[in-house]
Amino acid sequence: MLEVNNLTKTFKDTVAVDDISFNVEPGKIFGLLGPNGAGKTTIIRIILNIIKPSSGTILFEGRPFTKEFFNAAGYLPEERGLYKKSRVLDTLLYFAGLKNMNKKSAITESIKWLSKLGIENYKNKKIEELSKGNQQKVQFIASVVHNPKLLIFDEPFGGFDPINQQIIKDILLSFVDSGKTIILSTHQMDTAEKLCSDIFLINKGKEVCSGSLWQIKKKSGANTIRIEFAGDSSYLNSNPYVSHIDSYSNYAEVQLKDNILPYDFLRTIIDKININQFSIIEPSLNKIFIDAIKGNSY
């Protein structure tokens, strides 16, 4: 388990990370979410010992996360790039070597991963001869080839087409099964929603909300209803039970006032519009994200 306690980082006069604490459990994907400039990458860099925190501690398996864990961590930074003039397999062996992997198993593992991602034919090509997507695959392999216990992925899906995104998602889920500790930092809320069981939402260096995805949804999703209808929906706007409505051409997401039960609301509209579907919904993570960042409280 990775424990982050009261982490604070100040650069000159800006507070990039402000008293952040969270735990990352093994066997789960932990979603570190937030808008650009929220402080996600700074937190990741501190965890990985790239920069020092102004205050706060990081513990991994109960001990300070220092040099001894270097080989146990795998990191895929958001901005990608490799040595353009070097060859694919050489590059992978170099990074595996930096994680103290012996050469023999580094070769077997590299080849295994290259063929898993369908690029084993490129192993002796120079990086610059590969397409961008394939370069990203090489870098992904570089971050996992040494079978790390702690994996940190910063926007791992950027630059991949949907098919490859699916492949990477499947790999991430297989890491969950093998009990690895995984931090996923992303803007793609739909992906985070599918993969992460724990969420930590951060904005301007401060925690906005955190907990298991299920809890957060329950907390923020009370009394939201989706209605699909035919005909005029203008009545919905003036309904006294409605606190907020997002209406679209043939459906609407309606948030009810507190203490109003969905079927009370249903009763008031049943005669007014032609309902095709009526369902109680959880808000999407995307909506939670946007509302949270805009300052709506839950």
Binding site: I50, E79, G81, L82, K85, G97, L98
Partner: protein
């Protein structure tokens, strides 16, 4: 430290395959040898045909003795090197003769012509007119012959014994000998001295500049594609620094090794003077000390650079700074025992160049050598510590290059 070796090996193997490295490996010695040999080859080239030189002598008295003074210069086949032709006597149309002489020179019939004019106030003016005014050898011979002629004429005018002339014109050359250990002596030749010392100083500079430039470029690449973060999350900054300097030194040693081989091959075929290798061990010691010292400086400064453009700027400034010690070495050749040279032998930036030079000039007191080595070792230690401090923060600074004030604050940490 295991990781430092992994990094060193990677840096070494990836850089040694690059075109830049291979080109500089073979081009540098060719350029240096070319520069060193070209002037001597050109200036020592013997004429292979007799040169026809005209003489216009308005006084009429110089031509015959001048002829005698030029006769002694012979070609290798025994033919005279110069054939002088009297173009004019006294009372002739001066302008017309000069015009036809000009034409003959331009058309190549004459190599050139000597124009001697004597004025009524006893002053004499001489011009050598030819298509190219740059032939110092011809000019030197004519100058000497003409001046000897003048003195001869004057002496005989004054009724002085012509044997005195021989004495005056026979200047005694002072032979320069260098005293070596054990009372041996060896001929000291400015050219060889220049060559033996400068070849190493220039090699050192070229090596530092080329491999230091490679180092800075690779740091900028790692910074711009954030690979530095992956590396720094796998090892400590000090391991990375040590790995880079080690890899770079490996490259440097490879260069030296290959260059020494080339040099030895050239020396055995007598293209390069054997004297180059007389003091090879102490010279190599200072060479390596210098290389490590300058490399540490490159690493420290290089880690601050954030863009390719800045890298180019800063490498050109550093290159200039690297050339300075070589410039200081020039006065040292002229006056190797001056206080100035002794002071330079204790300044870390100039120690390698000056000591390499002084080993070739003559014996150095043992204490001076030891003090220089100690100063060099201490400077290397301090520069690596300082480079490490700057490096630790510098490699992670993106975008804006840190101000000098910030860098100084990193050093204090």
């Amino acid at each position: 430290m295991n990781k430092a070796f992994i990094i060193a090996k990677w840096e070494y193997l990836e850089k040694i395959k690059t075109k830049t490295f291979i080109i500089s490996l073979f081009l540098t010695p060719i350029i240096i040898i070319g520069f060193a040999l070209a002037p001597t080859l050109i200036s020592n080239r013997q004429d292979d045909t007799t040169k026809v030189i005209g003489v216009i002598d308005t006084s009429g008295k110089y031509f015959t003795p001048l002829l005698r003074n030029v006769e002694k210069y012979k070609l290798t086949n025994g033919q005279p090197n110069y054939l002088l032709i009297n173009l004019a006597g006294r009372d002739k149309n001066f302008t017309g003769i000069k015009k036809s002489a000009d034409e003959n020179t331009l058309s190549g019939k004459l190599e050139g012509y000597l124009l001697i004019r004597e004025y009524s106030n006893d002053s004499t003016k001489a011009e050598y007119r030819s298509k190219n005014s740059g032939n110092f050898k011809d000019l030197g011979i004519l100058r000497e012959a003409f001046n000897n002629t003048r003195i001869e004429l004057k002496l005989s005018e004054e009724g002085i014994n012509p044997s005195l002339m021989k004495f005056i014109s026979n200047s005694v050359d002072i032979k320069a000998l260098k005293i070596e250990k054990g009372g041996e002596e060896s001929p000291s030749d400015f050219l060889i001295l220049f060559f033996t010392s400068f070849i190493f100083i220039i090699l050192l500079m070229m090596m530092v500049i080329s491999s230091g430039g490679m180092l800075i470029r690779s740091l900028v690449e790692e910074k711009s594609n954030k690979l530095i973060e992956i590396i720094i999350s796998s090892c400590t900054p000090n391991e990375l620094l040590a790995g880079k300097v080690l890899g770079l030194s490996g490259l440097g040693l490879t260069q030296v090794f290959i260059w020494t081989l080339i040099g030895a091959a050239l020396a055995s075929s007598a293209i390069l003077p054997r004297e180059v290798f007389n003091h090879i061990l102490p010279v190599l010691l200072f060479f390596i000390l210098g290389f490590v010292f300058y490399s540490a400086i490159y690493v420290g400064i290089g880690s601050i650079v954030t863009t390719e453009q800045e890298a180019q700027q800063i490498t050109s400034y550093l290159s200039l700074a690297m050339i300075l010690p070589a410039a200081f070495a020039l006065p040292a050749i002229e006056n190797p025992n001056s206080a100035f040279v002794h002071i330079l032998s204790f300044i870390p930036f100039t120690i390698p160049a000056i000591m390499i030079l002084r080993f070739n000039i003559g014996p150095i007191p043992v204490w001076e050598v030891l003090v220089s080595i100690a100063i060099m070792a201490a400077s290397i230690y301090l520069s690596i510590i300082a480079a490490g401090k700057v490096f630790r923060v510098g490699i992670l600074s993106y975008g804006k290059r840190p101000a000098l004030k910030e860098v100084i604050s990193w050093l204090r940490e």
